[in-house]
C-alpha cells in the first residue's frame, strides 16, 4: 500500500481502523515530498520537524484507544495566506517574509482541534493576486502534469501538492477563481463554498466581500469530507453565516442527477473557448444527461461585465485591506528613512511585487475623489445585475454547468507581460464570487498534449450538497480521477 496514493477519506478509514499510524503517514509523505518537491515546488515552508513530533505524540495518545475525529492524523497542506500559529505565513510576499502569526485562523483551529497534521504551507501568487503562482516572491510552482506549465493560481501550490500526492488534501482560498482554476489546471477537485459558509477569520484579506476558504482534494468525496470539517458559523467573522452544516458525505449517496435541472449558459460557450475544452465540457454535459439530469439552455446575460466589475471591486477592497502593511506592526520595514511618510512609502515599495502594486494603484484610483461613482459605484451596481442573473437562472435550474477556464494550463512566462490578458482568462470563475454562490471544479478530460481540463458546477447559495452530489455522480461514472501525472 502506498500511503500517499490514498485519498483523504481512504486514509482516514485506515487510520481509524488502526491499520496505519500517524508516524507512518508522516514518513510516507516525507519520502514523497523528498522525491517530487524539487521539481514541483509546491511548498513555501515545510513543517518537517514539528509534524514528526506531532505525529509521534498523536500515536502515543492513541495507544489502545482509537476514537478518532475526522481529520485526526490526516496530512494536509495549507495555502500560505491562512494564519497558522507559530508557523511562518508569508502570503508569498517579501512584505511578510518573516511573519509568524500569534494565532490560528478559525479553519486551522478546527483542524488542530481534530488532530490534523500540518505538512507545510503552500505557494501562491503574492497576496493571492494572480492566476499562475508566477507572482510569488519565492518563484513559481510547477504543474505536475507538465513542469513547463503553470499550476494555475492563486492557490497553485495547494493544487500542485494535491495533484503530485505531496499531501492528502489542501486548503486554498478563492476570490475570483483561485481554488477552481488551479484545481482545473492540475486535474484535481476544488470547491469554493458559498460566501459565509466558511469563516475567513485568519485568512489574510485580499477582497473581503469575495474571499472564501475551501478544499482542494483528490476527489469529490474528499471535498465533502474536508468541507464538513471547516464549515460553520464563527463569531470571529461577522460575515460567516449562521446556517447549520449538513452531513456532506451523506449527500453523496444519491449517485444520479434524477430530478435535477442543469443549466448550460450560452454566454460561456462563446469565442475564445479552446475547442478541446469545449469538446470535453460538452461531453460531460451529455454524461450529466445520461445520469438523469434535465439539460436546459439558460442565459447569464451580464457575463461579459464580470471581469471589469471584478477588477474594480476586488482591487478597491485590496487597496484598503493592504493599507495595514506599513512597516510598523509586522513584516518588512525599509531601512534609513527620515520620517514616517517615507517609512511607509519605501517599505511598501520594497515589500510588494509588481502585481500587488498594480492592484493597489488600480484600487486606489477607482476609489479616489472624482472617480468613485464612475468606477466603484458603477461596478457595485453592475454586481447587483450579475447577482440577479444568477437568481433568475436558479428559478429555472438547480445547477449550472460551465468550463472552469477557456484553455488548459498555459506555459510559464506566456502571459507575464500582459495583465489585462491574464485578468480576462478569469472570465468563467469570477462571476461566481461576485454572486457569492458556491461552485466546484473537477476533472472532465485531457487535452491532446496531456493537460487536464476542468468542469465547473455552480449551485444555489448554501447548495453545496446538490453540487457535491452531482459532481460525485459524474466522477463515479467517469474514469478521469484514476489518471495520475508522471512527474519528470
Amino acid at each position: 500500500m502506498s500511503i500517499h496514493k490514498l485519498s483523504l477519506y481512504e486514509l482516514h478509514k485506515k487510520f481509524t481502523a488502526g491499520e496505519v499510524t500517524a508516524t507512518e503517514i508522516v514518513r510516507a509523505y516525507g519520502l514523497r515530498i523528498g522525491q517530487v518537491e524539487p521539481k514541483v515546488k509546491a511548498y513555501i515552508t515545510q513543517a518537517k520537524d514539528t509534524v514528526v513530533a506531532q505525529a509521534g505524540a498523536l500515536d502515543a495518545s492513541l495507544k489502545g484507544w482509537r476514537k478518532t475525529s475526522p481529520l485526526m492524523g490526516m496530512p494536509l497542506a495549507i495555502k500560505d495566506n491562512i494564519c497558522t500559529e507559530g508557523v511562518l505565513t508569508t502570503c508569498a510576499s517579501r512584505m511578510l517574509g518573516n511573519f509568524v502569526p500569534p494565532y490560528d485562523a478559525t479553519v486551522i483551529a478546527k483542524l488542530r482541534a481534530q488532530g490534523y497534521l500540518l505538512l507545510g504551507k503552500t505557494n501562491l501568487d503574492e497576496f493571492a493576486m494572480g492566476s499562475s503562482t508566477e507572482n510569488s516572491a519565492v518563484g513559481p510552482s510547477r504543474n505536475p502534469w507538465n513542469l513547463q506549465c503553470v499550476p494555475g493560481g492563486s492557490s497553485g501550490g495547494s493544487a500542485a501538492a494535491v495533484a503530485a500526492d505531496e499531501c492528502a488534501a489542501a486548503l486554498g482560498s478563492d476570490t475570483g477563481g483561485s481554488i477552481r482554476q488551479p484545481a482545473a489546471f492540475c486535474g484535481v477537485v476544488g470547491l469554493k463554498p458559498t460566501y459565509g459558509r466558511v469563516s475567513r477569520y485568519g485568512l489574510i484579506a485580499f477582497a473581503s466581500s469575495l474571499d472564501q476558504i475551501g478544499p482542494i482534494t483528490k476527489d469529490v468525496t474528499d471535498a465533502a469530507f474536508l468541507l464538513g470539517a471547516i464549515a460553520g458559523h464563527d463569531p470571529l467573522d461577522s460575515t460567516s453565516a449562521d446556517v447549520p452544516v449538513p452531513d456532506y458525505l451523506k449527500a453523496l449517496k444519491k449517485r444520479d442527477l434524477k430530478k435535477l435541472k442543469v443549466g448550460v449558459p450560452v454566454e460561456f460557450f462563446a469565442e475564445g473557448l479552446d475547442p478541446e475544452v469545449e469538446q470535453a465540457v460538452r461531453a460531460a454535459i451529455e454524461e450529466l444527461k445520461s445520469l438523469g439530469g434535465e439539460i436546459k439552455e439558460i442565459q447569464l446575460p451580464r457575463t461579459d461585465a464580470a471581469v471589469a466589475t471584478y477588477y474594480v471591486i476586488a482591487t478597491a477592497e485590496a487597496s484598503s485591506n493592504l493599507a495595514r502593511f506599513d512597516g510598523v506592526k509586522f513584516g518588512l520595514r525599509a531601512k534609513e528613512t527620515k520620517d514616517l511618510l517615507e517609512l511607509y512609502m519605501k517599505t511598501r515599495q520594497e515589500g510588494f511585487g509588481p502585481e500587488v502594486k498594480r492592484r493597489i494603484m488600480l484600487g486606489t484610483y477607482v476609489l479616489s475623489a472624482g472617480y468613485y461613482d464612475a468606477y466603484y459605484g458603477k461596478a457595485q451596481a453592475v454586481r447587483t445585475l450579475i447577482r440577479q442573473d444568477f437568481e433568475a437562472a436558479f428559478q429555472e435550474v438547480d445547477l449550472i454547468v460551465t468550463p472552469v477556464t477557456p484553455t488548459p494550463a498555459f506555459k510559464l512566462g506566456e502571459k507575464g507581460d500582459d495583465p489585462l490578458q491574464m485578468y480576462l482568462s478569469d472570465i468563467f470563475t469570477i462571476s461566481v464570487n461576485l454572486a457569492g454562490v458556491p461552485a466546484i471544479a473537477l476533472p472532465c478530460g485531457f487535452s491532446q498534449s496531456g493537460l487536464p481540463i476542468g468542469l465547473q458546477l455552480i449551485g444555489r447559495p448554501f447548495g453545496e450538497e446538490t453540487l457535491l452530489r452531482a459532481a460525485h455522480a459524474y466522477e463515479q461514472s467517469t474514469q478521469w480521477r484514476t489518471k495520475k501525472p508522471v512527474i519528470r
Binding site: 520620517d339 445585475l385 495583465p419
Partner: protein
C-alpha cells in the same frame, strides 16, 4: 481612458507607494488599458439599481461588551520590525521646535 504619469504619481502618493520611473511609465500604460476595459460597464443601464456591498444578506453583528482574553502585549509586538517596552517604535512624528 488615458492615465498620465502625473495621475500615476498622485495615486501612488495616496496609496503610500513609492514608485520608480520605470514603474510609473508601465503603470500609466497598463492602468490605461485596464480602465479602458472597465469603461465597457457604461453599456449596462444601472439606473435605480441598488449597489451590492455584500452578498447573502449579511447584517450588522453585535456582541456583549465584555472583556475577554486577548493576545498578550508581548505577542502583539513580537512581529514588529522595532519595538521597545511593549510599544511599536516609529520615527519621530512631532518635530522639535526651536525655543
Amino acid at each position: 481612458m488615458e492615465i498620465t504619469q502625473q495621475e500615476v504619481e498622485k495615486v501612488a502618493k495616496l496609496a503610500r507607494l513609492e514608485l520608480t520611473d520605470i514603474e510609473k511609465a508601465a503603470f500609466a500604460k497598463q492602468l490605461s488599458q485596464i480602465l479602458t476595459h472597465v469603461e465597457t460597464l457604461k453599456q449596462y443601464d444601472t439606473t435605480g439599481v441598488e449597489p451590492t456591498a455584500t452578498v447573502q444578506g449579511q447584517v450588522n453583528v453585535f456582541r456583549p461588551d465584555i472583556a475577554r482574553p486577548s493576545l498578550s502585549v508581548e505577542c502583539a509586538v513580537a512581529n514588529a520590525p522595532e519595538s521597545a517596552d511593549g510599544f511599536f517604535v516609529v520615527p519621530k512624528i512631532i518635530e522639535d521646535r526651536e525655543r
